[in-house]
Symmetry: C2
Subunit: 329 residues, 2 copies
Amino acid sequence: MSTKPPPYRVCLIGSGGVGTIASVVLTKSGQAHVTCVLRSKYNYVSQHGWDIDSIDHGKLLGWKPGRIVRSADEASTDENGDPVEYDYVVVCTKQLPNLNPVADLISPVMTSGKTTVIMIQNGIGIEEEIIQAWPGNAVMSSDPNVVVQIAKDVSKMGPHLHAGLDDSVSIERARRFVDMYVMGGASVCELVEDIQVARWEKLLWNGTFNTVCALMRMDVGEIQRSKGRESMLIPMMWEIWNIAKAAGHPMPETIVEWMAYRLPDELSYRPSMLLDLENGRPMELEVILGNPLKKAQELGVDTPHMATVHKLLKLEEWKMDQEKTAGTT
Amino acid sequence: MSTKPPPYRVCLIGSGGVGTIASVVLTKSGQAHVTCVLRSKYNYVSQHGWDIDSIDHGKLLGWKPGRIVRSADEASTDENGDPVEYDYVVVCTKQLPNLNPVADLISPVMTSGKTTVIMIQNGIGIEEEIIQAWPGNAVMSSDPNVVVQIAKDVSKMGPHLHAGLDDSVSIERARRFVDMYVMGGASVCELVEDIQVARWEKLLWNGTFNTVCALMRMDVGEIQRSKGRESMLIPMMWEIWNIAKAAGHPMPETIVEWMAYRLPDELSYRPSMLLDLENGRPMELEVILGNPLKKAQELGVDTPHMATVHKLLKLEEWKMDQEKTAGTT
């Protein structure tokens, strides 16, 4: 290994499984000095590091990134108190715009016109607040790809092209990041030059299986065996397909059948939103259903199933809030 | 009391609270000899009778109707084996057309052209199978009025007018039954000459509060406090209002607001379908949502919320069936 410092400075926010693996990949690439912002896990990880056991990266005991800090504010200066300018800020938190807007979260580590934001997060329209806040910066995204482990998908990453920046610049910065990711050993990562279609494709899963499994407290196999796939999920998938088409991101027609029937009927997989609901944790409801429904309304697309499921899951959120309030009094 | 036998023979099927009170009322009128068909409760009631404590009828210990039998077949002949012709057959069972069609249930005690059927049951379109099977008989209905006890409604009874019988005959037979009911001490019973509007009015409750409380496992007050009333119930009420209008049974526009806001926000009332779901008992889903949705489809009425709630409750039914199957293996 060369002694030259790595060419890029990366700040990574979010310490779940996705964030941890991302920090390993970026460090292993040799291209990045990675600063990880940890909140609740700071004390443990700064002392003991992470124990990681991954197919792509093997066993790592007590692994630590370049630097571990408690907050984005702390990350905004180095150990000597001098300001740090980041090339990339990688966001691996849950997407909860009402609770925790990403623009607020990353604000201390952003340099206008320089820092590229990578959102490894679920949902539709998540880039909009970032483009609004930093109109001259590149923004790219990838989904956290929980389903990857079941279905061996390729993880797609790509830029959100926007008016404040030449498309070629957005694409170039995304390409550099993906190259770095691949050099770090992420075996299934692919650059797409317009990420929007990929995000709508992923929504075919997240807006349907993820939401209906949560609402009905059923796992993927149960939804399939109960014919809920045919009565609910496929109609919802066509609603998503129609919004995406109206929004200028058409998907092939065959994708609905493929997405609906790719997984075995006996699979007892419990999607993330169901786990969140069962554990009283906030659901990513607004970016998964709320934002697509706003687009549908703007574009005049009919969404009877999605809109109803969204309203019913809002009632689940209310119940969760009630339980929390009851628990604290 | 006169020693003359009462003028009408009534066969009453269904031994829940509604059926029990109906048999008391009809017997007390002095106008009816009541034969009650009991299944699971036959042994107990034929020995001990019923203990009844009611606001309208006071305390009755060990009360028994004119005759108690085990089946409609047994009711079709008297103690000597001679055939009995009934003036009225009163049905107080749950409305489960797929499990237990009423036409099959009452077939042994029906005399063509003579016996009037009174369905004290929930739902829309429940009279159709009866009119089809006995086109020359009168059919009337009333809802079981579970909400009565909260909101002090008047119980409306009335005929389902149909082509096989002069309207005047249908109305006359219904009037005689309502008179008998009032003579028996039912304080809040009223004849309406076309019961259809009353049934659609009742569906504004049963198709909305009853179904959404069940699906969401929330009581009436919770649905109201969570704003589920505004997001879900009121839109569903307008869907029902529109189907009823298209079907020729228009309701006043003010009824939606009245039905939505009549009950206090702190009410912890758990509607019948929620209790059924919690106790693994079949829900009256098809007559409460399925039949209205069929009408909506015939008439081209848009029902996004109702249709989705119906599909989701079908998944609850599937879960219930799975649990039953698991329990018996």
